[in-house]
Symmetry: C2
Subunit: 415 residues, 2 copies
């Protein structure tokens, strides 16, 4: 709320590092041109990052006759970031170097019976331990762990205020995790994680206004407004999945009727498929992943039922995305998460058509709709990005009276 010149510095630091990660190696000149900052400012920021060992100098580049440009690149061995994607049926953990390349992965299955926070936290702890040993990183090099948990998250207290799949209410997740994980922790939800991933490394890079539409089992929108993530007043902005699209429509697990999620979430798509082809072999009644995969294969082979099901889904999704376009007037809408990745171009194509029909001309003209270009799990990447942001945040505060870091605490190892 209260802006200070320090915020400018932080934003610039982000911007410069972002640029270096995106285009490594690069010169100070390029950075200045890309960020719009002066050479001097870039130089000092680069100096800071060098100091932090997050980047290194990696040689020189010819410069039409003068002193050669010094090149800097991400220092891959300067630290590691861990992203944790907690989902309904699995815990997925990835360890990244500072270039945000995956160095190690671990996945734990979460059975339906394991709905207790302690059980889930156990899986997280195991997986985090696993990636650290896999990568052979000393603990000190881990700059932070970002954790994404579904539902509503209160970052101030580090609690999972509500997680629909396990019916968690006010679970002090950060405290539980702190007992097992001795690195700085950052908690948020998948919506915001994938939005941040797009903002730093994906299709929303350099865009001031973007909407990241998450199509998975759950559905939501990550909002980038004015160049930064919009969280709303209680960190629950973007709950697009439970927005009404058809008044008195399909029953949603949230208790309402006609929510967007019931038409374009994985379960909703299954219903759409059933409606256009009740006996279709594509339908695996109890397996979302299998059904969506089958649907994708059906599209590839020209199965008419698959085509109709996707067309129908796109009709709903297009209307919903058009709503977002009208409301936010973004530069870009990114379709992300596994359903979008699986159905890919055919879905995108149909959605664009539907949006063209529904959105108002002026906002429509300014908006691009694309699939997420991020090849790995965007939630892990985004969670790791939260950790990266956290690590950069710390730079700002000089030694001495440091304001309490925003609830990302480097806990002492369990005694």
């Amino acid at each position: 709320m209260k802006r200070t010149s320090r915020d400018i510095r932080t934003a610039n630091r982000y911007e410069v590092l972002r640029q270096i990660i995106a285009e490594s190696p690069t010169s100070r000149q390029e950075l200045a041109a890309a960020t719009g900052l002066s050479l001097a400012t870039v130089a000092t920021l680069v100096g800071e990052l060098l100091e932090l060992r997050m980047i290194t100098e990696v040689g020189f580049e010819d410069s039409a006759g003068g002193r050669p440009r010094g090149l800097v690149a991400v220092n891959s061995s300067g630290g590691a970031l861990i992203g944790v994607d907690i989902a309904e049926t699995y815990v997925h953990v990835e360890l990244f170097d500072l270039g945000l390349n995956v160095l190690a992965r671990a996945e734990e299955d979460v059975r339906a019976s394991e709905s207790l926070p302690e059980q889930v936290v156990g899986h997280v702890a195991t997986a985090v331990g696993s990636v650290v040993t896999q990568a052979g990183i000393e603990g000190a090099r881990v700059l932070g762990v970002g954790v994404s948990v579904p539902g509503q998250v209160d970052r101030a207290t580090g609690t999972s205020e509500y997680a629909p799949n396990w019916d968690w209410h006010d679970v002090p997740l950060l405290d539980l995790l702190t007992e097992h994980i001795a690195y700085p922790l950052h908690l948020d939800n998948p919506l915001r994680a994938s939005a941040v991933a797009e903002l730093w490394f994906g299709a929303a890079r350099g865009r001031g206004n973007a909407v990241v539409v998450n199509l998975g089992t759950g559905v939501g929108a990550g909002l980038v407004l004015g160049g930064a993530l919009h969280r709303g007043v209680s960190n629950s902005a973007g709950e697009w999945g439970h927005t009404t699209m058809v008044l008195d429509g399909r029953l949603c697990r949230c208790g309402n009727h006609g929510c967007v999620e019931t038409y374009v979430g994985a379960r909703g798509i299954m219903l759409n498929l059933r409606e256009v082809g009740p006996d279709s072999p594509l339908l695996h009644p109890d397996d979302q992943t299998a059904t969506i995969d089958a649907l994708a294969r059906g599209l590839a082979t020209g199965d008419p039922v698959a085509r109709r099901a996707v067309h129908e889904t796109a009709r709903y999704l297009g209307a919903g995305v058009a709503d977002l376009v009208n409301l936010f007037n973004p530069e870009i809408v990114v379709l992300s998460s596994w359903v979008a990745r699986t159905l890919g171009e055919p879905l995108l194509h149909e959605v664009r058509e539907a949006v063209n029909r529904h959105a108002l001309p002026r906002p429509l003209a300014a908006t691009e709709i694309v699939l997420s270009p991020i090849p790995t799990d965007p939630v892990c990447l985004g969670a790791a990005t939260f950790a990266l942001e956290g690590a950069l945040q710390v730079v700002g505060q000089k030694n001495g009276k440091r304001t309490a870091p925003p609830r990302s605490r480097a806990a002492a190892p369990p005694s």
Copy 2:
């Protein structure tokens, strides 16, 4: 996009003046407490405003034993602001002093046959001339004119990109107005005008995140995000009225089906009324205002048809507002414009109930829903506020190379 420390200064200047207008007279101490700024900063900002003659010193106040506090107040005679509300059937103009008190009003009827831009501009020019002479202000004292025109507005070029009611396309409205009006002009649309009015003087004051829902003939949402108006990338954010609420629902004038506007706009309410009471005497088929007025009276007298019609409307409106709450997670939702004012508390009550049913608990808990407390035409007030912001903007740039002011041009009088 690019933030500079100057923006901080501008925001603080706004904040201080806002506070003075809200609570006049007031002391520097109070201002510092209210804005969170240091006494010194407040003092310099107050100094600036005094220099500009926008405020004056108006005496002293006792201070528990020490030196008395100097009091400052808005300098009513320090200038005038004009707000112009162009609507489908009328042009409404108000002239304000710097305390945003109405000094003069003028209204021109626009007949259905007068859809040419030149005709509308003629009405505006007449009304503006009228309020200036009514108020007996010398022209030099008019600090600016804010103009609100329905539809999509391009502020960069000063054109009305699209106005649905008159089917205007790319009308260079600012150029046309400049020929008749010799004061600095600021163009935008009613959505943003009323949002700014709430932000400065209404229910959104001091709130970082607010949604101003406009219920009139047309419907839209003004968005205040992060303490400032959210415009989107092409100044058309907030087009909530053409968001789909019922897929394949009622036909909208925009060509789509099931838009929010067709259920909660004035015409939509008339349809709701017809559905619950086809023969109701409340219905004036060709007169929106008369119908809504009758509906309000019906509510007051306990007419069951009126009650049911409003209940039905609130059902739609509640679902729509719940969507906004879920998406934006605002601190406050303000219901504004004439339909909301006319139906008042009964509507508010029903809407709250409906929102409670539809919104997710966490965003819901953080959100307040209120009627606009602004007693006059919020669009005029908001338009005038644009002019005020424009006048304050100019302070920033010292003499010398001033960057071109953002398309608010003080034109030479017609030669």
